[in-house]
């Protein structure tokens, strides 16, 4: 690891300082363009009162208050780097802490206090630097006020403010309180990027020491006075409700519950046991019998879902087709092409399976509701809890713990609402922990989808027309129906029209096919699904023309997409694309390449596989190249991309959630397999220096993973996989 930029040691409060240090002081920094009024307006009239605290400064430490949840993506460190860059402080005294819920912490891209969509750096790159720069000016103004000198006569260096003419000096900490009363500069000047000493540096993550020592506080580690624990069982069918409950097997002779079991609580679609400890609650729950009214989805199964999706591809199907893009005359372009390729691709439902099962701790009292949980959407809770509990939104407090993985799942409010209802029911704080089985069976899944693509190629191998229809259940239709535009769920089609290859004619249609299975945001969302389809089709075109897949992509991109071309060439070069793979006995080997552009980043990946004669697939190596624009912390970027690639590869290999009688068939890691260390290949991530605006990286690794893998399998075996997971295909043979 690289060490932090060299800086002088921490300077303590000078004896000559006018003010004595007085512990940690909150330095209020109103973000220009994101003031209290605007923030409040953005989230509605009942918004909590903002505190506008982005920094806490003491004589010995600076704590950056982070508006984004630390879910593993390194955001605490990166956002702290942005603030610290403008402050002239020693990085070694910088800490990060999670902001409490407040409307002022609303993510400017997502609207509302939430983290996701690989937006954190894009959203906060400017505001956090402004927060640091404004604080710097306010500290200067504070010293000027206290010493009665001109601000211009002051010098700031590494946590210290000096007035050279009078030889006075004071630490930032000593001046923090006075600084917090200064006017907030509207447009604080930002440091010239040429002088950056922290932005772009691979400083070690601030969360690593606590995580390595087992001290990091995750949702399940919360302990509040008087806390009880709850285990829950939901109706196995989505949309079903609880009909009857029989807890007689749990009751003892006198009709009371065993010692430590506090209550059996029924919710609309679930039953929970609240007890003095979680194991007791879980054991007691097993003795509670429940009859469910399973509802409309009780007959649903995977075969019927697949058929319904397939019917949506039929041009004669009467269902509503929403046209997303219709550019040029696609039918004519394809009819007049030298060659056309037509294929249907299928993708399964996927579970998030974050390693920390869903959980939340809630305390509902006469004063309101306080929540402690790992979440990526704090902003939704005041309104939702107010509705659920019959209290005012300003009586809701949300505290965010470290998040043990999320990948989109913790946008959902289910577990937080349940915890609050349970606390209200028993009148004490309750920590609700879902079992892994509940977590996988009651997920909001990555949508299953089907896509039909027809593309035309001219005699030179250029794409003349691309006709693409996607049928899938809608995420936005469930979580934000107002975000549908003319019947289009943009999350279902992203990655098709915005692919890096020039398409003279494009028709992109979307058919919303609901299935009764709830769907949600899953790392990389539609880019993951459609990236697989697009990059498989490009590979099919190369194969049909007998062209090398890398050179074919190069020629398509030509000079029209220089960023994409650069990462494509870099990945190919670093992978040794033109050097044949050495053979292995009783196996076939191959390399596949894929390219994807999303979140302001562009990535190319090369995957090397060995397909054994018995059909087993071994992942040998992954080489990726990324241009994500300006980087805040390249080491975090490379870790995120490597992780995203493995996340995508694992899903492509074995990921699938199936349904019978409305029930998810998978329930734990034995049947919903995620990638293991033994299966994980070495991953190289090569980062391109770039002056483009910062792009998102936490999702960027996922989209190219599956197509690079299946393209490699094609190279090895000649078998084109048009459905995932890979494990469902028979790849045996010599």
């Amino acid at each position: 690891m690289t060490t932090p930029p060299a800086a002088p040691p921490v300077i303590n409060l000078s004896r000559r300082a006018v003010l004595a240090g007085s512990g940690a002081l909150v330095l209020g920094v109103h973000l220009p363009g994101w003031g209290v009024g605007e923030a409040a307006a953005a989230v509605g009239a009942n918004t909590l009162i903002p505190v506008n605290a982005w920094l806490k400064i003491s004589a010995t430490a600076v704590s950056v208050v982070c508006p984004a949840s630390e879910m593993g993506q390194g955001v605490f460190t990166a956002l702290a780097q942005l603030v610290a860059e403008e402050l002239d402080i020693d990085w070694r005294i910088v800490r990060a802490e999670m902001a409490p819920f407040d409307a002022a912490y609303a993510n400017p891209i997502l609207g509302g206090m939430r983290s996701g969509g690989a937006t954190s750096i894009r959203a906060w790159f400017l505001p956090m630097r402004r927060a640091g720069a404004a604080a710097r000016l306010m500290l200067k103004a504070a010293a000027a006020e206290v010493w009665r000198v001109a601000p211009d006569s002051l010098v700031l260096e590494t946590g210290l403010i000096r007035h050279p003419p009078s030889a006075r000096e004071a630490s930032y900490g000593a001046l923090a309180q006075v600084a917090s009363r200064q006017a907030v500069p509207a447009e604080p000047p930002l440091r010239d990027p040429a002088r950056w000493t922290l932005i772009g540096q691979p400083v070690p993550r601030l969360d690593v020491p606590d995580k390595v020592a087992g001290r990091a506080l995750f949702g399940m580690d919360v302990l509040v006075p008087g806390q009880l624990y709850a285990a829950i069982r939901h109706c196995p069918v989505y949309g079903g409700t609880l009909a009857r409950l029989d807890d007689s097997a749990l009751k003892m002779g006198g009709g009371s519950y065993p010692p430590g079991v506090v209550s059996v609580v029924t919710l609309k679609d679930a039953v929970a046991v609240v007890a003095e400890d979680w194991w007791l609650a879980r054991s007691a729950l097993a003795r509670v019998a429940v009859a469910w009214a399973e509802g409309a989805n009780a007959g649903q199964n995977s075969a019927a879902i697949d058929s319904a999706l397939a019917r949506a591809l039929d041009p004669k199907d009467p269902r509503a087709v929403a046209t997303v893009v219709n550019r040029g005359d696609v039918d004519r372009a394809i009819a007049g092409s030298a060659r056309s390729i037509d294929a249907v691709y299928r993708l399964p439902f996927l579970a998030h399976a974050a390693l920390e099962p869903l959980n939340a701790t809630a305390s509902v009292t006469a004063r309101g509701c306080e929540l402690w949980l790992p979440t990526q959407d704090q902003g939704q809770y005041p309104r939702l809890l107010a509705e659920a509990l019959g209290i005012r939104p300003d009586k809701v407090r949300v505290n965010t713990t470290y998040v043990g993985g999320s990948f989109g799942r913790r946008f959902e409010a289910d577990v937080g609402l349940e915890a609050a209802l349970l606390s209200k029911a028993v009148g004490r704080p309750v920590q609700l922990i879902w079992t892994r089985e509940e977590d996988i069976r009651h997920d909001v899944y990555r949508p299953a989808s089907i896509s039909r693509v027809t593309l035309g190629l001219d005699v030179l191998g250029r794409i003349t027309g691309w006709r693409h229809r996607v049928a899938a259940p809608s995420i936005l239709g469930r979580v934000a129906p107002g975000a549908l535009r003319d019947g289009v769920d943009k999350t279902a089609t992203q990655g098709v029209a915005d692919q890096p290859y020039p398409l003279p004619a494009l028709r992109l249609d979307y058919v919303r096919q609901e299935t009764g299975i709830p769907v949600g945001f899953w790392r990389s969302v539609g880019h993951g699904s459609n990236g697989f389809v697009v990059e498989s089709m490009i590979d099919e075109a190369a194969a049909a023309l007998g062209r090398d897949p890398w050179r074919f992509r190069r020629d398509l991109l030509a000079e029209k997409a220089p960023r994409a071309l650069r990462v494509l060439d870099l990945a190919a070069a670093k992978a040794g694309w033109t050097t044949p793979l050495p053979p292995i006995a009783r196996a076939r080997r191959g390399r596949g390449i894929a390219l994807h552009e999303a979140y302001g980043s562009v990535i190319a990946a090369v995957v090397e596989v060995t397909v054994f004669f018995d059909g087993r697939v071994g992942l040998d190596r992954v080489v990726a190249a990324l241009d994500c624009g300006q980087m805040v912390n390249p080491d975090i970027v490379s870790g995120q991309v490597a992780g995203g690639l493995l996340f995508g590869l694992g899903a492509a290999l074995t990921g699938r959630v199936g349904f019978e009688r409305g029930r998810a068939l998978q329930s734990n890691f034995h049947d919903y397999k995620i990638l293991t260390l033994a299966e994980a290949p070495p991953v190289e991530v090569h980062l391109v220096a770039s002056a483009e605006p910062p792009g998102g990286v936490s999702e960027a690794g996922v989209p190219p993973a599956a197509p690079a893998l299946t393209n490699a399998i094609f190279a090895a075996t000649g078998k084109r996989l048009r459905a995932l997971p890979v494990a469902a295909a028979d790849l045996s043979g010599a």
Binding site: K211, L355, G639, L646, L677
Partner: protein, 155 residues
């Protein structure tokens, strides 16, 4: 009544004998570095050392470890165990953690491996490290284990 020596301290607890060791540690002893991930011994987030052997605490009953010596991440983080100190230093140097939820169990598993095999071959690392990391930090986990092994080989 179950008696355990946890991180060097002997405790006697009134818990049901079938209570998994994981919940004894987390609930009764407030040692929350050991994580619950799956409850079936599949993910390894709850890995602890029982008489020096890495076991999945979610799948070990309290009664079955009566009288045993348990080491958790909190015990290993105390700085007295040279192998654990090297492993944690390597996890830090390689900047392994992302979400961090698998980290305590991973580190315990790596300590058990390196105590048993000072210089594990890649295949031995694969066989021993069956814990799951959902963030996909495996490449750095391997590097960290190799780094800790190298540090342990130094004179």
């Amino acid at each position: 009544m179950v008696s355990l020596t946890v991180n060097g301290r002997t405790v006697s607890l009134e818990v049901g004998g079938d209570t998994p060791l994981l919940w004894v540690l987390r609930h009764h002893l407030h040692l929350r570095g050991t994580k619950f991930g799956c409850g079936v011994g599949a993910c390894g987030a709850c890995t602890v050392l029982v008489n020096g052997v890495a076991l999945r605490a979610c799948s070990v009953s309290a009664a079955s470890v009566d009288g045993a010596e348990i080491q958790t991440i909190e015990g290993l983080a105390g700085g007295n165990d040279p192998v654990a100190t090297r492993v944690m230093a390597a996890w830090t140097s390689e900047q392994v953690p992302q979400c961090g939820y698998c980290v305590p169990g991973m580190i315990v598993a790596a300590v058990a491996l390196l105590r048993r095999t000072r210089q594990p071959a890649d295949a031995e690392i694969d066989a021993a490290m069956t814990n799951l990391c959902r963030c996909g930090s495996y490449d750095r986990i391997r590097k960290a284990i190799r780094r800790a092994a190298t540090a342990g080989a130094a004179p």
